[in-house]
Chain length 251, copies 8
């Protein structure tokens, strides 16, 4: 019975083909599935509207594949981040429809289950070309969570008119994700130009005193533009997920 979703169980209970006792016995297992090395949080989809996302870094390809199977079995969308080619190979072996995005380093399956839920467009802006992989992780995540996105790449502040000329695109967005390394100044400039939420993603792009992203992280945390919020260095996934939280209508 393990590959049946909670929804199915409840439907069968309503129809009378499942007794209350049977329903109650199944609940914990429906909510949290133990794989020994992992406790998959199937309840998350009910709580947060999206199933658990697999963070592949530090997991073996086999572990990732087993968690992926547990998710797909329940007919949920599968999103895995920080996946390298070996992770993908292991997942692909058992989920043939899984697709790999080499720039974003993501694995996606059951994409047809994505339902459009966003209230507006999420615009993803980068300061430079090297910031694109992080931006793409944000985009894939936001889209998997049912949002429409747009992009604006390589418009860093050293040529300030590049971003100023795009004020129309900026104003069309309901949420803006700014991805920048080095001094991360683009977040402050964009934050001061618009009234919508701005999520800043520092990247580890740079060298020397950028200290693998600390310079842009601190720059963004200290932004003189009011109300810019920040996620972890290189955390495109977190930015995409936060944007999805903000872009959702309250039920």
């Amino acid at each position: 019975m393990s590959n049946v979703t909670l929804q199915t169980l409840l439907a069968r209970y309503k129809k009378g083909t499942l007794t209350e006792a049977e329903l109650l016995r199944s609940l914990p297992e429906q909510m949290f599935e133990s794989l020994g090395f992992a406790t998959v949080d199937h309840h998350r989809e009910i709580r947060q509207g999206f199933p658990e996302v697999i963070f592949c870094q530090g997991k073996t390809p086999d572990q990732v594949a087993q968690i992926a199977r547990a998710i797909v079995r329940r007919k949920s969308i599968l999103l895995a981040t920080r996946a390298d080619r070996r992770h993908y190979a292991a997942v692909h072996r058992i989920i043939r429809s899984a697709r790999y995005n080499a720039v974003a380093r993501t694995i996606l399956a059951n994409a047809h289950l994505v339902k459009q839920r966003g209230l507006g467009t999420i615009l993803i802006v980068t300061a430079g070309t090297s910031d694109i992989p992080v931006a793409e992780e944000a985009r894939v995540t936001a889209e998997a969570l049912g949002n429409t996105t747009d992009r604006l790449f390589d418009v860093g502040v050293a040529g300030i008119h590049r971003i100023l000329m795009q004020s129309k695109k900026l104003r069309a967005a309901r949420i803006i994700i700014v991805v920048a390394g080095m001094e991360g100044a683009l977040a402050s400039v964009v934050g001061g130009m618009v009234s919508v939420p701005v999520i800043a993603v520092p990247t580890s792009v740079g060298y020397g005193a950028s200290f693998r992203g600390i310079s842009s992280l601190l720059g963004m945390l200290n932004s003189c533009a009011a109300g810019v919020t920040v996620v972890n260095i290189d955390n495109g996934f977190g930015a995409g997920y936060a944007a999805a939280r903000m872009n959702r209508a309250r039920d």
Copy 2:
């Protein structure tokens, strides 16, 4: 003519009591007013729906008072943060209706101009009692920006049932601000319980290896709950402002 708002100017232009040439000549001064030591950004209200907020720390009481006067003159709401009693005294001398909140360290004037614009309630949660000043700064800011707020104080994770028992209040909120010092773990727990945006505010509460807020800042940036965003240490203002950005309907 300096204490006339842009709106008035435009109305007079429409009525014909102001020529186009006169209008154009007045525009720059309406947008950015130079006080010598400060360039007040009156255009911000048009761009972002809220006038410039005065960050008092590092400014002399006299400088704060002069900027405050320039803002109030244009019939805008006045909000000043990180104000100490000397700042307040200087402001109060020229703006008798200004009010001081000693816990939040804010000065507020023209509060009657606040228009309710938020789509839902902003809930402000603290891990401990010592986090309250930062939480209050967030609350005052969010309310000045036209939002309804609610509070939940001292529900840190060392007694996990305190927050769990409040799941109803958490679910009633449209946006949640979590204010916590020490290890900042409350942001992760709340972030995992709800689907709405969670803004984490690390505080400098703690000692020793809390390093004046670095421990909670890092904890929040590395939150295992997806899509939690973070502002600067002790930045209640930023959290309130970010929440206001998120809580606004797109026009």
Copy 3:
């Protein structure tokens, strides 16, 4: 006479087959054996109830093998940590019964000498799947030191009910080791749920502002749960050893 334990010497002295002079002459060599590049502390077994454990990192395979031989010769349990496959190969060449645990990166020999001494069960909990190698090092160490262990993996706070549903298992433990990377919040939650000793092990799991484990280390040091103690980042061995110290009856 070098591969004879101190106990044997004392027994022979008591029986009269060893003179006092002979005994005294043998003592230093029984306590500290010099291998030139290493001074093996055989006295540790008497002082602390367990022989020296070999920390392989930074040692050549040959050095590890020679120290291992000196320990096994005295009929002591051999435990080596942070061992890679080349260390194991060198040890295995001279101690055929040695066993390698690839996840925990430990080498174990003379395991039959382990005596059960623990007063209760040591429970090892991880926040995520990537924390397992460190958890396994703790488990192998605790068991080599004569303790019974139990495990609970991947119950991080982003899905707080995963750990709450396990309160029975938590209450059954006499000592709990919490292994967590990222923000390390699990230690605070567990620390607040139980009254037994909680040992927190920060791991280097994470990226960006986790700074290879600093975020969880600081989180755990600043835990708002009273009386949680902490070991070095990724130090599963230290946690297992500390748990064994705590789990021992005083003679």
Copy 4:
């Protein structure tokens, strides 16, 4: 009814003077008492065998006094740490029996309720004289939690024989707390001499490159003595509490 302990309620329920409905209605309030600015965790005494301890730093004297009253009302032991004289004055005004320890910076009331529960002696050792305030905080905490303590002050490793001559005292202890600033080396030396649990407390004693306790914190985390555990810088309270956890018989 608020100043009645949970135990009393249950007794009355058993006797029949309280209905089940009345009991259930009273439970939440018995467990968590909201003071607006604080949510007192009265349930902690049941969960962990000791009531909530008040961390005074960052709280106003009035807030501390109100929390103190809520605790004492329930006939629990009151322990407050990091209390300055103003905190004490406020508490003393409403709890006349409260006592202040100026070295440890603690407030204690209802000390007659302390029940001896420790299995053995907790020995508190300091490297220097300047470490004594932290050591005293540990001692007061451990004793409030029902333990017997002993002390050994100013036996740092620069005169290694001072600690070596005390090996008898070290061996008599069931748990040892080592308090040291500067390089914190004493923890390693003691950790290598005994088989019982060693809790290391780094202090901010030192200057220059001690960086307010970082040097001893890092020294203790990297101790070459196996199984030494560490608490936050200057966290005597945490050390005393951890020792109490370890010194308790499992029920």
Copy 5:
């Protein structure tokens, strides 16, 4: 003879009123004057075109006064930085013409000796009002070194049009000093708008994760605008001096 400048000596030697032997004997003392606690580098004026500047911080008022006297005696311009009122009082007691600038915290005497030498205008720009004291230190220094300056205050990037509207003033400058705290982004924006040298001065303005100026320092060092150079945090003096170096015609 000690209060005679080197120039006078050489003139007298040329005229024949001083023998070669007398000249040579006087030289070392003319170049470096020992006051016991200080070795005044009078030769610096010859080497660098400006006498030694007194850095008052860490010196007693009396020490500052004695060094000041040694400089003024040689008919050199006196500039002292980081001077508090007690330093000024001590200097003023012996040099009545000395003037104190309370914002810049500088003491100046013999200002009539300043010769205009700069090739163009040095423009000093600040991001905020709180950056003004550092900007003023830069201005006083640059002017004491014979340069013409201009100012543009409080034009930070959160209101990007404030700086864009000033492009004429920016283009009129031969060298630009950008003074900014928080994220320090203004240096990148200005650096990208002009082709003249841009000297960035990070300030300690900010709080929390600004870490007393580290955020702006790192932001400026990692500026994406090519060829921006940086001085120490709050080092207005250094920026003014560097600008003077750049603004000088090569002889």
Copy 6:
């Protein structure tokens, strides 16, 4: 029309072969060319007198090649820094005249377009032999920007006479770039010897407590020689560019 420079367009407009409407339509595209992953800032040449320089690190060889083509098409000088051999191979495939400097890690094309514009010689000094790659990046940059350079290598302060003996070469320079790792002391010594601008480049040369260049970065920022300015660690490009800014005559 895309590979025509702005200058050509304006000439054609003047001649009458291009209408005003056509000119205006072409302008944005002439200023900022979008390649999807990059927004090339062709306007920079007009604004700053030099086209955009490609920072190769973090870009794919193909991205670098496409940006390079866009620059060369407009008959601009191509300079690419931090280029490895794979970047060069991709560029060379489409720009056969491009040349690679393996020590400086730069790619250069259209070098014949370089116009001598510097007012004097830029001297590049290194403390050690290991600093040469950074020094070479500075030299290549300065020369590509139209400057004459000179070099002085391995004259670190441990043998102070090496630099003292070169005072003639130091005095002949109009701007001096000092490249040094380890303690970076050479910048202070040179800064004190000359009156011209000194740009200090910290390098990551060193080990242990040099922390990949932090030691020299801090040393240079804290230089006791007045008016030394600093660029990022290993930022030879930035130093060369800054020197070019300083060495230009004002029009």
Copy 7:
């Protein structure tokens, strides 16, 4: 008997006025005297040729006075460092001959007991005037330990000839202590000029990115001059003591 030195006891034992049993009973108390809050290491004088030095910071005036009395009672030299005026007052009350050095912040008594033991002169050099308090602590310490000293103040590298002109004084020294803040470059220059031991003392002189002495500490640790050794920031005492160790003839 407690105020009798070990030497006296042994003399009396030799003379026969003290039995062997009496002698042995007195030994421990002669070596380590417990004052409750302190364990005075009287044996240090025998082991290291100098009695324990009191580090006053963090000790109460009363504690310092009691330790001082215990030392003076044994007719040893008393040296106390980091003493403020309150410490001195308490000591002076019971040891009338004690003398306070306000610059070095030291207390000295029984100075007549100092025996000249150094092989040569210890030269103490400072980069600036603000480094003098640390230099004086070094000088007082070295002299109390029986050495001859010389001084050279304010000869930092920004005016490199100041130190070069003193090469005779440098060559006359047997050991050189270099005291410098900011970038600490003087240690490298001196280290390269002489062949005798050079002890570098970083000071907290500076501001901004000097990070209270980190810049000079790192500069000195990374000195390109071979064989320079370093002590803690502002640790004049340690430098003086180390110099004394080096300046002693081996017995």
Copy 8:
């Protein structure tokens, strides 16, 4: 004439086979030899009694070989540190007698020129086996500089009696080098046991919060044993060189 030492030149001058003019012309080249990429400091041997030592890290094999040739040509001892096998191969190709020490990573040639100059024995002590490579670098350096050495390996403080039992060896030394990673406590223990100079070398041995040697570096800088001096992390060369400075008789 370039491969003739300064001594030879002076001898020839005395004999009259070299004129004064010829001598003076040759001097600079004899003191500092320019190889383009390096300025070899031949004068160092005169100044410090030992020729320049080649620090190979960051230099190409070819650069090392050329500098080596310049040194050997002048009949000086060649010592190169941080040499890998490729450096050695390049040196060996032109100096067949050069010898490589793979543990210490040193190259040595002209070892027959070493003259015994040390006043006593330099003892090199390590806390663990992994510290040996650094200890060997110290030993090779000290011996190349004409000193006698002794060793004591793996006597860390976790088994304190290992070092206590060696007090005789410790007392026999004139200078002691203590090499230790992790918490570096051995330096304090040894520093407190002896009166001779103790040079502490922190190593990068450890993991997690050892931060590549920061823990032991800080531990040693904060040593509670008076007068311990410290060199850079892993700087065995510096320790050996410093010991040689200390062990030399003053001429």
